[in-house]
């Protein structure tokens, strides 16, 4: 049975929505594979790489005897002596399994990935790799990470990509990094819950994902000048009929923002980038979870506004008292379920300490954190509204209108919202 279209027409597989899968996830079709015959290539886009990049390359080679590593130096400035030294060290590794290539100009992460893919597809000729791993340059892995990722990918027949479990390397730095450490455990849990549901988790993250080379060739290049190219390519994979999943036994660690400003910018990019993916998608199935999220958010916002307006302008009215009580009970029940599950999830958090337990049990820090991220989302909607309106302003528009748009762009940029950055900033 052929599932995948080779033409440009997107042919999603299994367009029927199975309501059963909301509660009982579908099982993925398993297949046999020969680990020894599977060729894997790791693609690492690097900009101003540090010691972690060198460690990553060495670990990849040490623990995966057949892997080929391609580091794409995304035109790191020569003035960055430390990074250039790291790249030199990588070049000097005496192995024919490492290649360092340099982009002619800085192309940002997606551009560097495409540059690397062109190199791989060109250099490997007919013996293309079976698996292409994309990794951030500051990722830390353990011996079994890549092996388990490749195994999870190749043992599932229609699987186009498999991502690793995310952990925070610098989680003990401060309260913010600890909160992100706890949040990442939630991300991993969400991915597991989404396995077998609407073609799998929403995003195969850019931190460490293994792609089936055939799937990657089918969907084409990573979208350049996109805010979150990992979500975008996941949506395209799903639209082509490939399912995706996470590998429970493939662990990887990354550095997370340590201050509020960096975190805000990162989340603004994720949030607005997510909205643009949903905005541009043709088929809704690949972004279903996001649609639910946006719809629920807007419905809540509208209901709150409606409540406030009715109370302000009409005063009291007679409603059966059981309705408000039911609302309160359901809300408390939701909170209780959420809280118990959060506590249970701590068993999946091996790096936890007493401080993390305190944060989780006390609720308040995570509540404040989630609320601040809600503000990021509100900002993304406002920015989307602004960009939609400003599309009508052209060179022919009045100087006043152009000035307003310019000022708006500048204000949003200050707040971390822009359309023009890449992943690396």
């Amino acid at each position: 049975m052929s599932f995948h279209s080779t033409s440009n027409t997107i042919v999603p597989r299994g367009t029927n929505i199975n309501l059963k899968n909301f509660f009982v996830p579908a099982r993925y079709i398993r297949s046999n594979f020969n680990a020894e015959e599977t060729r894997a290539c790791a693609l690492i886009p690097a900009y101003k790489p540090g010691e972690l990049t060198l460690r990553l390359v060495e670990d990849l080679l040490r623990w995966n005897p057949d892997i080929v590593v391609c580091v794409v130096d995304d035109c790191t400035p020569l003035e960055c002596k430390e990074s250039i030294r790291v790249l030199e060290k990588i070049r000097s590794i005496s192995s024919d399994r490492v290649t360092v290539i340099r982009t002619p100009v800085n192309r940002l992460k997606a551009g560097a990935l495409n540059y690397g893919l062109e190199h791989i597809f060109g250099a490997w000729g007919k013996r293309l790799p079976d698996v292409i791993l994309t990794l951030d340059d500051d990722v830390v892995i353990v011996p079994a990470t890549v092996r388990n990722l490749v195994s999870a990918l190749m043992t599932h027949e229609n699987c186009g990509a498999v991502c690793s479990q995310c952990h925070v390397l610098n989680k003990n730095k401060n309260l913010l990094t600890r909160l992100q450490g706890l949040e990442y455990i939630g991300f991993n849990a969400t991915r597991l819950a989404d396995e077998g549901f609407f073609m799998g988790p929403l995003v195969m993250h850019g931190m460490l994902t293994a792609f089936r080379a055939a799937a990657l060739r089918e969907v084409g290049r990573f979208a350049e000048k996109h805010l979150i190219e990992d979500y975008e390519i996941t949506a395209r994979l799903k639209a082509r009929g490939w399912v995706v999943k996470s590998a429970l036994d493939a662990h990887a660690w990354t550095i997370v923002p340590e201050d509020l400003s960096s975190l805000w910018r990162q989340r603004a990019r994720w949030s607005y980038g997510g909205i643009t993916v949903v905005d541009n998608v043709i088929h809704l199935r690949p972004v279903f979870q996001d649609l639910v999220g946006h719809a629920a958010f807007w419905a809540t916002l509208c209901a709150i506004n409606l409540l406030i307006l009715r109370m302000l302008f009409e005063g009291g009215g007679g409603i059966p008292p059981y309705i408000p009580y039911l609302i309160i009970i359901l809300s408390l029940l939701q909170f209780a379920i959420w809280y118990v599950f959060q506590l249970w999830l701590m068993r999946m958090y091996r790096e936890k300490d007493a401080y993390d337990w305190l944060i989780r049990i006390s609720i308040i820090p995570e509540f404040a954190y989630a609320s601040s991220l809600t503000l990021v989302l509100v900002g993304s909607y406002v920015f989307l509204f602004f960009k939609t309106l400003s599309k009508g302003v052209t060179e022919r528009s009045s100087a006043f209108a152009r000035r307003i748009v310019q000022m708006g762009d500048s204000a949003f940029r200050t707040c971390g919202y822009t359309e023009s950055w890449g992943t690396r900033i």
Binding site: F22, F23, P25, A144, N148, L182, E183, A189, T190, L192, A193, D194, E195, G196, F197, L202, Y231, D249, H251, W270, S271, G274, I275, V287, V292, G293, H294, A296, F297, T300, A303, I304, L306, L307, M311, G316, G317, G318, I319, I323, P324, L326, I327, L330, S331, L333, Q334, F335, I337, W338, F341, Q342, M348, R350, F367, Y369, A370, S371, L373, T374
Partner: protein, 74 residues
């Protein structure tokens, strides 16, 4: 922070507190249509949470054998 499966839209823990607050306000005064809206909304939220948890538990049990293996980075 798995409150409900909301993709890249923030999974605001706020609906629980908002729901309680709205309920209290509606007890004092309110409109039937708004009350029904909130009731529906809280019902949908809890359905999403339960569905997500069901899938999580099932997938967890299906993949439990993979959870034993673990290293910490040095």
């Amino acid at each position: 922070m798995l409150n409900f499966n909301g993709g890249t839209a923030v999974s605001g823990t706020s609906i629980a507190s908002t729901g309680v607050y709205a309920g209290v306000l509606l007890l004092r005064s309110g409109d039937l249509a708004v009350a029904v809206c909130f009731l529906l909304l809280t019902g949908i939220y809890i359905a999403i949470i339960i569905a997500t948890l069901c899938r999580y538990v099932i997938n967890y049990h299906r993949s439990k054998h993979l959870l034993h293996y673990y290293y910490e980075p040095k």
